[in-house]
Structure formats: C-alpha cells, structure tokens
C-alpha cells in the first residue's frame, strides 16, 4: 500500500547519523569534524520528517526548523573558534590540541612522518588535489 515505508527513511537517517559519527571520530580536520557533526543532525532531521509524515502531524517538521536554527548558531561559533585556533597553531589539525591530559600520559604523536608517496601512487587515474605537492609547487613556480 505504502510505496516507501517509514523504515526506509529511518534506515537512511541512521546511516547518515552513523557516518557522521564515524567521521567525527576519525577525521582530524576541524572543519570536517564539524561538517560530520552537522551530518549527524541531517540524519536526525530526516528521522523527524519521516515520523511527522507517519504520524500525520507537523510537530516533527517544526522541530527540524529549530534544529536548523541551532545548527546555524553552532556554525557561527564554530567558524569564529576555528579561525582563532587556526591563527594560534597555523593548522586545522585537532590532534595538536592535547596539552590538557593526565600528567602521566605521554603526548600522542604520529608514528611516522608524513611523506608524500610520489612514485607508488595508489590510483594514478584519480589524482586527488593536494596529493602530489611537488607538481603543485612547480605550478606555482611557473606563475
């Protein structure tokens, strides 16, 4: 009877939520972390809209509007905060902020220095930007 049942929307909502959580937990770029948190909220919004349809009232939709409002507030603050933090460390890496911890613990450092793997390029037909800094440097030097 029902072409797209409620649970399909809920499944998509849950997947978005979980993907957002994973991104938040793994990615170290402050901006991407924030975007992932926003993606979690998108999952929630999808849930609410689907439930609103299922229940036949508009309360869920109204709720989503407020979530958007709050997300906008958080975005404003996140923007300001990230700007300031970037100025301090000149990097967006969240792992640089581990000054505050248990005294007995050593700082967590990356095991190996990051090196651009030039020749054993994993996927030559998909060169992502920023993957091959040499080339980029040449380009800028041309200009």
């Amino acid at each position: 009877m029902n072409p797209v049942p409620l649970q399909h929307f809920l499944v998509v909502g849950a997947i978005l939520f979980a993907l957002g959580a994973i991104g938040f937990m793994t990615r170290r770029n402050l901006i991407i972390m924030f975007l992932c948190a926003e993606m979690m909220l998108q999952g929630v919004a999808l849930n609410l809209v689907a439930f609103a349809r299922y229940r036949g009232n508009l309360q869920g939709q109204s709720f989503v509007l407020f979530i958007i409002t709050v997300a906008a507030c958080e975005a404003a603050l996140a923007l300001a905060l990230i700007l300031v933090l970037y100025k301090r460390k000149n990097s967006l890496d969240v792992s640089l902020w581990q000054e505050l911890r248990e005294e007995s613990e050593e700082p967590t450092l990356d095991e190996e220095p990051l090196e651009s793997p030039p020749e054993t390029s994993a996927m030559p037909h998909l060169p992502p930007a920023g993957r091959e800094p040499q080339k980029k440097r040449e380009e800028t030097s041309h200009v």
Binding site: A37, F51, R55, V84, L100
Partner: protein, 548 residues
Amino acid sequence: MNPLTTESILHSFPLIIPEALLCLVACVLFLGGTFRPGRHLWGSVAFLALVVAQIVVSTTPPRAFASSEAARSALFSAPIWLDSYGVLIKTLALVGGMILVLLSWNEIDDHHAPEYHGCLLTIIAGLCFTAGANDLVTLFLALELISIPTYVLLYLPRVEATAQEAALKYFLLSIFSSALLLFGFSYLYGLSGTTNLHGIIDAVAGQDLLEARVVPGTLIVAVFMVVAGLGFKITAVPFHYYAADVYQGTTTPCAALLAYVPKVAGFVALVRVLGFLPYNLGAERGFGPMATSQVSMLLWILAAVTMTTGNILALWQTNLKRLLAYSSVAHAGYMLIGLAVAPHINFRTGPTALIRAGSVDAILFYLAAYGAMTIGAFAVLACLSSRERPVEEIKDLEGLSRSNPGIALLLALFLFSLLGMPLTAGFWGKALLFLSAFMVESDPTALDGGSVARWFRILAIIGAINAAIAGYYYLRVIAAMYLLEPRPGEKPLPRPKLSPALVAVFACAAITLLLGVIPSLLSNRAQKAAEGKVPVATLPVEQQQAER
C-alpha cells in the same frame, strides 16, 4: 481548535517572566557593552537582574486555572509546565547564578565584562527554562541556551593555548553529544507522535508494555540516546572525559559554572524526560518493563561505574582543578543512584515518610548541596590564586592553615562536605540518596522476582565504599593545608581581600553549613515538591487546591 489549548499556550507566557527578564537584561548588556566597558557596572546589573528574577519566582503564586479541564489541557499542550519542583530548580539556578556572578566579578576584565555577564545570564535563563520545559523542542532549546553561551564563556576570559584547547574540546564534544540527544528525541517523537513531554510519557506508560512483553526497539534507542546525550552534561562515565581537561584549562569561575549548571540541567532534563515525576502512574499504569529492566539497569550501571571511576581517577590527581573535576564526576554517580532508584520507589508508599522522599527530591537536595560545596571549593581557589602565586597544584596549598587560617577552614569545610562528614550538607545529601537505595523493597510480584531490592542494596554499598575511597583524596588536600609547613623559599599565599568572590565563598559556606545543620530547610520543600508532582491521568494536585 480547542480554545482551551490556545489559552494554555498563551498562559504559559506569564510563567517565564523571570527568564524573559534575564534574556532582556542580557540583550541590554550585549548592547550596552559596546558603549561602556566596566565590570562593576555590568556585574551589578547582572546581579540585580538575578535578584529581581528570584523575587519574581518566589512571589509568583502557583498558576491557577479556570477549570480542571484547562489544567489538563495545559499539561498536555503548553510548552511550559511549572510545578513546584520546577520552581525549586529555578531557585537553585538563580541563587547559583548570583554566586557565579560574584565569583567571576574580578576574573573578567572591564572590556569583556558585558558579554561575559550577558552570556552568564542567558545560561541561567536557559537553566530556568529547562526547569519548566514541557516540550521536547522547548527542552532542547533550553539546553542549547545553556551550551551555546558556555562556549563563549569558556573562551572569553583567557586566551592562552590551554584555555583555547578547553573551549575547543568542550565545543566539539558538546555538539557531538547534542546530536546524540537529538537522535533520541527524534525517536521519542516518532514513538508517541507528539513533542509534548507529558504526552510522550503518557504514551509510553499508557501501553501495557509489561503485559505485551514487547518493548519497541526504537524506545530503547530513544532512551539510551537521551541518557547518553544528557550523560555528557552530568559527566556520567563514559561521557565524562572532557571534564578534567576542560576544568583544568579554563578559569576557575568557568570551571565552577561547568561543574554546576550543566549538571543541574542534565539531571532535571533526565527527570523530566524519563518521566519519573508522575509518581501516581501506579502499578497498573506502570512504566512497563522499561522501568523494571532496561532503564534502571542502564542507570544502575552508569551510577556504579561513574562514582567508582570518578573517585579512582581522582586519587591520582595533583592538580586541584582536575581533582575537583573527577570529584564532580563521582558526585554525578551518587546522584545517578537516585535516578536509578526513582522508578522503583514511586510505586509504593512505605512505612516511613522518607520513602516517598526517596529519590527525586534526594537528587534535588543533593544538587543544592553539591552546588554549594563545589562552587565553594572552586571559589576558594579563585580567591587564593593570583598572578604571582597561582594555585594549581595541591602542593601550592601547603601550610595554608598557617598563612591563611580562615580561608583554610572554609576550604576544609567544603572538602569535608564533599567527603560527606556529618553536620555538612554533603552528609545529608549522601544519606538521603543511599537511604533511598535501601528503601527499595523487594516485591516478589515484580517481573524480576524481587531481585531489584538486592541490586539496589548492592548499589548503596558500592556508594558507601566509594565514599570511603573519596576520603583519601580530599584528605590529601586537607593534610596539605593543615599538616604541612609552607615550603621554604616560597612566598606564603596572600590573604584575599574582601571581594565579591570572597562573598561568594561565604555564601557557599553558609549554605553548606545551613543545609548540614538544618537539612529540613530544603528537604521538606523538596519532598513536598516531589509529592506535589503532576500525575498524568488525574487532575493535578496543586491545581485542585488552587480551584478550592
């Protein structure tokens, strides 16, 4: 459209006069701050606003309804429902706000004072909103009214790297946890089809889930996610991680604020959402298997793990703020006992009066006591600390009783209260909570064959053992103050001058002692508030009286 509903929505606006006042003054601060700096000016404006709000709260008579029909209608459709429990929480919020304003008076410079105090007022307004929230949307926005200005507060007074780190950590984990909370909220809405809190509780409690032996999986998801999201605010383990780092990194008044306001908000929200307040649900309208199994088991585990982890981690600390942070984690664990116990005592009336006063009011009492002693301890640190001689580590306090006997005595008082010594507020708080865990009677007819009572006794014993462990680290601080001489070559800590922060210390000490010596001052009220709660399916008791 039902005219009663419109009326109930309109009538909820007079209930938020104190909050509106605070928000208005906050706007004035934000705007006025651009014209004139000055911490004395704006500090006193903020303090005055809180005092006026408190006067409004305490003089407002309980809301009267034209008819019981209207009362019912308001219960299920108004965005704000202010019962006497909510009023007490508002009082806690406003008094706590006054102390916090005093405490941060000199901590902030003239230029940032207006923003700082404006944010503080907004936070307190948010806490007041939380106390009365009757709708998921209102509750969510109230919690955000607390969080968002907190991010600003954490950043404003200090700009060194640690302060920035603290703000960053709090911000990131806070938005993460609020996403969890919202996910839970969305399922609560989906289950019951309404965003009204009483409606949700009614829907969940109204189904005979116990008989059906089916708990919708989404209900479990909803409750767990809500508990996780709010667990962040109350620093329940494993959602507590930020606490130590953030308290350490930020200024002392902000740490005091973080230790108090979000915790109160989290507990109030948990009490509201999990619906423990409607005691009169009665056995036949029970919370179903949710109450007897999953939720209380979840809270049981959280309580046990939280207090144990908090105390154990605190043993190691040499940094005072970290120590207090872990101690606040442990105290959240004690309060969780009350929350775990709540659904089990609601259903019966026992041989003694205390049974009814068992849990929800015990939490309220503990929140007040905890607020006084924790803010007090932080306030003492704030008073003592100076640029020349910062007080960060326990060893900075060595020999304090020699150089500063009065302030040492006050700090000792707060620590003894945190430890739970008799004659202090902390003792009564713990006593009420542990007792409530003992009061769960075995009920052989229950789903679990009456093992609940045994489990809660075990919980009480875990609590008692934890209270014993806690002695160790609080005493280390006391020993440093009283049994050790100041280290040679170190300047003794200067005597704090009479300042607003010192007044805050005295206020906290007065509350700690007062609640310790005359606990009935608050406990009776809390008990009445918990009894005068709002049963869902019958007429609100307070309103019945109001009508007569």
